[in-house]
Amino acid sequence: MGSSEAGALKRTPFHDIHVALGAKMVPFAGYEMPVQYPTGITVEHKAVREACGLFDVAHMGEFLVRGPGAVDFVNYVTTNNVAALTVGQAHYSGILNERGTFEDDCLVYREADGLMMVVNASNAAKDFAHISRHLARFDCTLTDVSDEIALLALQGPKAAAILQPLTDVALGSVGYYHFARGTVAGVRDVIVSRTGYTGEDGFELYFPNAHAATIWNALMATGGVTPTGLGCRDSLRLEMGMALYGNDIDDTVTPLEAGLAWIVKLAKGDFVGRDALVRQKESGVPRKLVGFTFDERAIPRHGYPVFCQGAPSGMVCSGTMSPSLGTPVGTCYLPAGQTAEGTPFEVEIRGKRVPARVVKTPFYKQGSHL
């Protein structure tokens, strides 16, 4: 989880709805956000795996890039190949610095008249400053619209059936990591994106703040939707082995170390961090992010010390008791050569070394979208 900043916390346009529902509100990435509702994280987690949950993720940052140089600019400041995106398609990508390490991870959406970058709330201001440094070389504009755009994630195997009666977008024609604009609950020009952070089928809806209550209430009125908080968002994404900035990736690791070589397109031409990645590829990746479990009942947590062949090897990145599997799951970096499935190592929990072993991710293999 991200850290809170000193001073007043920001609120999303759904704040009063969460409070009325009895949500436990916590500081997250400078926002006051719901970590869970009275039903609890386990019930919310299960609702997303089996039916449908609704997440307020309006804290996320959105940047619009417009102009003839938009594709070239975003291609230069991110790792994936923006030129390969068709209009109506999105992809997962990385924003690196010159050392080849992560400033952030992001989604990039391609529209006919420009691109949208969606970044982590905790990094949005930093990202904007970071990529702005390169803007002058490209014929395009960059606008931070984070404070104007609301974002809801409707996630679960029943998401499409629940959303379809409320929208004129033919959801069957919107493929995974594709999107369309249409009317949702009477609100026009909503971006309906078949994306998410849970491993389940689902949609992310982008629209102006003013329509927050209209869309939330229409979705809840279907009767099939459970309000779901950041607590289960974290356990759902971890079961899928999806990276969380600040836990699994940060400005000390490269995409090659994080198992994210698939979002790095070295052949697309120059981009920020490319030289460092080429050098690392030539010299060899020194460590890799792995998934692990314990055979005994203990729960790994972010920050617990890791020992590989007796030697200190950093700390646990993410860890929890998997609500779906009922087993401990975690991630950490291990030295190259020690990352094969089944490799034993140890995690120190309250002074005791607990035997761990490397397992393949995703931990949860039945997601409706893997």
């Binding site: 994280i41 607590g231 729960i299 008791m321």
Partner: protein, 127 residues
């Protein structure tokens, strides 16, 4: 509104102490307020029978999905029974903290001190 039974005693760390038919043996667990604050409890690590603790010693650990918390012994004494059912069903601490979700029974080695009654505990949690 947290359930705070009038006949129990409480610590500032949200453990409760409940009498048994043996005047020297007490049941120890965490309060309704504590389980609500922790959220869904997924793991409770308890000591073995025969272990001895002083007042305020750590006797175990309780883990919720998002939080880890230590369990502090409200009294000085010896553990005479452990609720091993919590291994298989830690969520009973959420459902029934004063009943099925009890944690250990201790035989006192010295009289309890600095425990709160229900009214004082209510005030402690801001009720």
């Amino acid at each position: 509104m947290a359930n705070i039974p009038a006949d129990l005693h409480y610590t500032a760390d949200h453990e409760y102490v409940k009498g048994t038919s043996d005047p020297n043996v007490f049941v120890i667990g965490i309060t309704d307020y504590a389980q609500d604050q922790l959220g869904d409890i997924v793991f409770v690590e308890l000591p073995k029978e025969g272990a001895s603790y002083g007042a305020h010693d750590t006797f175990g650990t309780i883990e919720a999905v998002k939080a880890v918390s230590e369990l502090f012994s409200p009294v000085a004494g010896e553990v005479v029974e452990v609720n091993s059912a919590l291994d298989g069903d830690p969520s009973s601490v959420n459902r029934d903290p004063y009943g099925a979700g009890w944690m250990i029974k201790m035989r006192l080695s010295s009289p309890p001190s600095d425990l709160m009654d229900a009214a004082a505990y209510q005030k402690h949690i801001g009720g």
